[in-house]
C-alpha cells in the first residue's frame, strides 16, 4: 500500500529525537484522530535551520511524512522552509495513498508551528507564515491503567 520511499522513511526514520532548548518547537494533530507530530528546530543567527528533530505518534504515513519533512527543511533558511509544502513532501515520497494525504498536511503544519514558535520567541516575521490552527502544547488526556 505504501511506496518504497515511504517504507524506507517509516522503517528508517531520519532525525527522530528531541532538541534541548530548541529555537522553535511545534506540536500539531490530535491523539483522538490518531496522529500527533512534534517538530524541534535549531536555527542559527542567519536564520538557517541547523538541525531538526521530530517525534510522531501515528501511522506509517505519519512517520514517513515527518521524516521526509525534516529532511527537506534541514540546512534551509526559514524562508526556504516555508516552501516545503505538503505537496513537496508527498512528491519526495513518490506519493501517498489518498486516505493518507492528511498526514502530509500535518507535516507541513508541524513545520509551520515550529517556525511560528521561533518567530514569536524572536519577535520576527516570516513571510507567508500564519499562526498554526491546530497547534497543541499539551494534550488533554493522560489515561493510565
Amino acid at each position: 500500500m505504501y511506496t518504497e520511499k515511504v517504507m524506507d522513511h517509516f522503517e528508517h526514520p531520519r532525525n527522530v529525537g528531541e532538541i534541548e532548548n530548541p529555537s522553535g518547537m511545534g506540536t500539531v494533530g490530535n491523539a483522538k484522530c490518531g496522529d500527533i507530530m512534534r517538530i524541534y528546530l535549531d536555527i542559527d543567527e542567519n536564520q538557517i535551520i541547523r538541525d531538526v528533530k521530530f517525534k510522531t505518534f501515528g501511522c506509517g504515513a505519519a512517520v514517513a511524512t515527518s521524516s521526509m519533512a525534516t529532511e527537506l527543511v534541514k540546512g534551509k533558511s526559514v524562508q526556504e522552509a516555508m516552501a516545503v509544502t505538503n505537496q513537496a513532501v508527498m512528491e519526495a515520497l513518490d506519493g501517498l495513498p489518498p486516505v493518507k494525504v492528511h498526514c502530509s498536511l500535518l507535516a507541513e503544519e508541524a513545520i509551520h508551528a515550529a517556525l511560528w514558535d521561533y518567530a514569536q520567541k524572536n519577535g520576527i516575521e516570516i513571510k507567508g507564515l500564519k499562526q498554526p490552527k491546530s497547534d497543541i502544547s499539551e494534550h488533554d488526556e493522560d489515561e493510565e491503567y
Binding site: 517509516f10 491523539a31 483522538k32 490518531g34 507530530m37 517525534k55 512517520v63 494534550h139 489515561e143 491503567y145
Partner: protein, 394 residues
C-alpha cells in the same frame, strides 16, 4: 517465501488441504448443476445435501433449516432485512448491540432509513451485553433481537442462552451472528433458543465465498435473492457446489476437534497475554481475560498507533490486525473498543492476534520479543510517550 507467523485467524483461516482436496472434483469432474435433471448432476446434488446434513447436525438442526449463502455478511443481511420485512405487521423495533460486526450494524442503519427503529445495547467494560438493559428495551413492537455469539475483535462471548430465553419469553425472534463462534465453540440451537444463525466457511479452515443461515422451521422469512428455486426457493442462485462441499468438509473436521483445538489455542493465548502483560508496561488486555474465544488475544499499547505496529510486525513476518483508525479506513478507531470505554488514543494502539491450531509456543515467544522491541521503538518516537515520561520524572 519467508517464514510467516499467521495470527489473523479471525480475519480468515488457511483452507485445509483435505478441504481443498474434497472440493477439487466438483470443479473439474462433477461440475453438473444440482438443479439439472440428468444423472450427471447427481453427485453435485448429493454432495450439497451431504454438506447440509453435516452442518445441520453440528448445531442440532434439521438439514432443511440450513440455507447456504455467499458469505456470513449475506446471511446477516438476509436474516435482518427479510425478518424485518416478514414481521413488519407485528412491529418495527429491532434490538442489537453496539459491538456487532458492520454486517449487522450497517444493515440496521439501512433498516432505520426504511421505517424501523433500532436499539443498540451498551456493553460492559468487557464487551458483554447487559441483560437487564435488554429486558428493559423490549417493546410490544419488538420483532427481532440480533446479538453476536462472540465478538470478532475482542473475542467476548455473549450469554447467548439467557438472551435466547428472554427472546423466547417475549415471543421475539432471536438471531445470532456466529461467524466467529461456529466451529470454535459448541452451539446447539435448541438449548440456546436460537431462531436464526449466521456462519461462514472461511473462519473454520473452509473456503471463502460460502456461508449459511440457519432458519428455524416456522420462522416466516422470505427470499432475499430472487430467481430460481434453489435452497427451497429461499435463496436463488446456482449453488456454489465446491464451496458448499468444502464448508461441509471443514465442519466435519472442525466439530470433533473443537475441544482439542480450543485447549491448544487458549494455552497459546494465555501464554501470550501473560508474557505481554508482565513484560510490556502501559499495556492492557481488551475484553474479558477468560470469557473469550479460545484463539483471541487483543491488546492496547499506550502511546503508539496500531498501523505502525502492524507494519513493523509485518516486516518480521507476523500477521496481525488492529482497531486503529488508519486500519479501519475512517477517522475513528474501532467501534467495539470505544463501546467498551477505551479513550480514542488508546483504541488507536490496539493489536488483535488470533491463533490457529498450527501456531506454536516458540512462535509466541518470537512474537512477544518482536512486540516488545517494536513497541519500545515506536514509543521512543512518540511525542505522547515523551510527555508522559517527562511528567513522571518531574
Amino acid at each position: 517465501m519467508r517464514k510467516i507467523i499467521y495470527l489473523d485467524n479471525a480475519a480468515t483461516t488457511r483452507t485445509r488441504p483435505e478441504v481443498a482436496e474434497a472440493m477439487m472434483p466438483f470443479f473439474t469432474e462433477y461440475y453438473g448443476n444440482p438443479s439439472s435433471v440428468y444423472d450427471f448432476s447427481t453427485p453435485a446434488k448429493k454432495a450439497v445435501q451431504e454438506a447440509r446434513e453435516i452442518i445441520a447436525s453440528s448445531i442440532g438442526a434439521q438439514a432443511r433449516e440450513i440455507y447456504f449463502t455467499g458469505c456470513g455478511t449475506e446471511a446477516d443481511n438476509w436474516a435482518l432485512k427479510a425478518a424485518a420485512d416478514a414481521y413488519r405487521e407485528k412491529g418495527n423495533h429491532i434490538i442489537t448491540s453496539k459491538i456487532e460486526h458492520h454486517a449487522i450494524l450497517h444493515t440496521c442503519e439501512y433498516l432505520e432509513k426504511h421505517g424501523f427503529e433500532v436499539t443498540y445495547l451498551d456493553v460492559d467494560e468487557n464487551g458483554v451485553v447487559k441483560l437487564e438493559e435488554l429486558k428493559k428495551t423490549i417493546r410490544p413492537t419488538t420483532i427481532l433481537i440480533s446479538i453476536m455469539f462472540a465478538n470478532n475483535e475482542i473475542g467476548t462471548i455473549q450469554p447467548i442462552r439467557q438472551i435466547g430465553e428472554i427472546a423466547k419469553e417475549h415471543g421475539i425472534l432471536f438471531h445470532t451472528d456466529a461467524v466467529q463462534a461456529y466451529g470454535h465453540l459448541p452451539i446447539q440451537v435448541d438449548t440456546l433458543h436460537i431462531d436464526m444463525m449466521s456462519a461462514s466457511g472461511h473462519k473454520i479452515n473452509g473456503p471463502k465465498g460460502v456461508g449459511f443461515l440457519y432458519i428455524r422451521t416456522g420462522v416466516k422469512i422470505r427470499s432475499f435473492m430472487h430467481g430460481g428455486a434453489q435452497e427451497r426457493k429461499r435463496r436463488a442462485g446456482t449453488e456454489n457446489v465446491p464451496g458448499i462441499v468444502g464448508f461441509g468438509k471443514a465442519a466435519k473436521l472442525a466439530i470433533p476437534s473443537m475441544e482439542e483445538r480450543a485447549r491448544h489455542e487458549s494455552e497459546l493465548r494465555d501464554y501470550l497475554m501473560d508474557r505481554i502483560m508482565e513484560e510490556i508496561p502501559y499495556a492492557r488486555i481488551n475484553g474479558d481475560r477468560n470469557n473469550r474465544l479460545p484463539n483471541n488475544a487483543n491488546f492496547a499499547f499506550q502511546f503508539i498507533e496500531g498501523e505502525s505496529l502492524l507494519i513493523m510486525l509485518d516486516s518480521k513476518g507476523i500477521c496481525g490486525s488492529s482497531g486503529s483508525a488508519c486500519t479501519s479506513g475512517s477517522l475513528d478507531p474501532s467501534h467495539v473498543l470505544l463501546a467498551i470505554g477505551l479513550p480514542h488514543e488508546i483504541a488507536h494502539g490496539s493489536l488483535r492476534l488470533t491463533m490457529s491450531e498450527d501456531n506454536t509456543k516458540e512462535e509466541m515467544d518470537y512474537v512477544v520479543d518482536s512486540i516488545k522491541e517494536i513497541v519500545q521503538r515506536l514509543r521512543d518516537m512518540s511525542p505522547l510517550y515523551e510527555d508522559f515520561m517527562k511528567k513522571q520524572t518531574r
